[in-house]
Subunit: 201 residues, 2 copies
């Protein structure tokens, strides 16, 4: 099976793959998920639909992987290791500049409705974005526990993703502003770290 998977992947170069993902994100911003068709992706990228289906299986997986590709630094949270949880969460925030955060915020807003109406898309998002990101967060938090920064039985450990995603999402609605680095750094210091029992001053 590994041989087959490798053979499939080798048909598309990383540059070509990046180009395809960019085109998918452009189309998503233009027409939204429901109106996005594999025909439009094929036409825009001058690919055959057969290639797209062979490589990605379907629209949901293609979109989830395009969104993942768009995340700065990919999902490499595991590579961050500054020696403190505060340092790690700040470094994570600083990987996206304000412009990228605003674009990402607009993209996710557009996809939020589609995710709830399309079980395939929800599944693809969980498999390719949420689960890997949660696993990386758990590693980062485990290091904080191992260092003695956070107690292993702190109940807020289960809600770190809720706090982070929530702060990001609530920012636009409450403050009429896109999330920025300054907002997120302040939110991490005021909310996320104290909830985990880490006092910052």
């Amino acid at each position: 099976m590994t041989g087959v998977a490798t053979a499939r992947r080798s048909r598309i170069t990383p540059e070509r793959e990046a180009e395809l993902y960019e085109a998918v994100l452009d189309l998503l911003r233009e027409v939204g998920y429901d109106a996005l068709t594999m025909d439009a992706v094929a036409a825009r990228t001058r690919s055959s639909k057969a290639t797209l289906y062979r490589q990605w299986g379907g629209k949901a997986e293609l979109v989830a992987k395009a969104v993942r590709h768009n995340k700065p630094g990919g999902l490499g949270l595991g590579e961050l290791d500054t020696g403190s949880l505060k340092g790690d969460l700040h470094a994570l925030t600083l990987r996206s500049d304000d412009c990228q955060m605003e674009q990402n915020s607009a993209l996710m807003r557009g996809l939020a409705m589609a995710i709830h109406g399309n079980p395939d898309l929800l599944r693809a998002f969980r498999d390719h974005l949420i689960e890997p990101e949660m696993a990386e967060f758990r590693r980062l938090l485990q290091r904080a526990i191992d260092r003695g920064e956070v107690r292993a039985d702190n109940p807020a450990l289960d809600y770190v993703m809720h706090m982070m995603i929530g702060g990001f999402a609530a920012r636009t609605l409450i403050d009429e502003q896109p999330p920025t680095q300054a907002f997120l750094l302040s939110y991490i210091d005021a909310v996320v770290l104290p909830a985990l029992g880490i006092t910052t001053s």
Copy 2:
């Protein structure tokens, strides 16, 4: 001006107003904000469009007030006073049963996109829902400060709405479950209160 406003309000009984709001919410769930027309509201409720415009000014204000009407207990946070912040936040959560929370969650998801595409709707939401709710939260938090439960300079005070809305919103995406009373009570104890410096056990 007060006399004019009173005269306008008196044209519709509270029962009739409630009936109109229910019809608006039904239409919202059926067709969404963008496709909802004042014609459809007039037809569904056997009202004249002139009455609707006279009473509510326009679609955005009508929708925001219908959503506000739908909130259990209205915006009467100020009436809650259990003697502790934990008690107040728990009492607030317990006013909506799980079924109401799920309906509210679905409704807000459907409106999130529309809010960002319609400045009128964002403005109406801020005026009739977000600002009043934040003012009530500030009163509830001020009582906690006055009681000595929360320090007046705690930086998490600025983010209580972000934490609450965020937990609510992130629940569906991360856990594939609607927010429930049990989830929110646990989230308040694990995240909101500790971030404010209140330890619960």
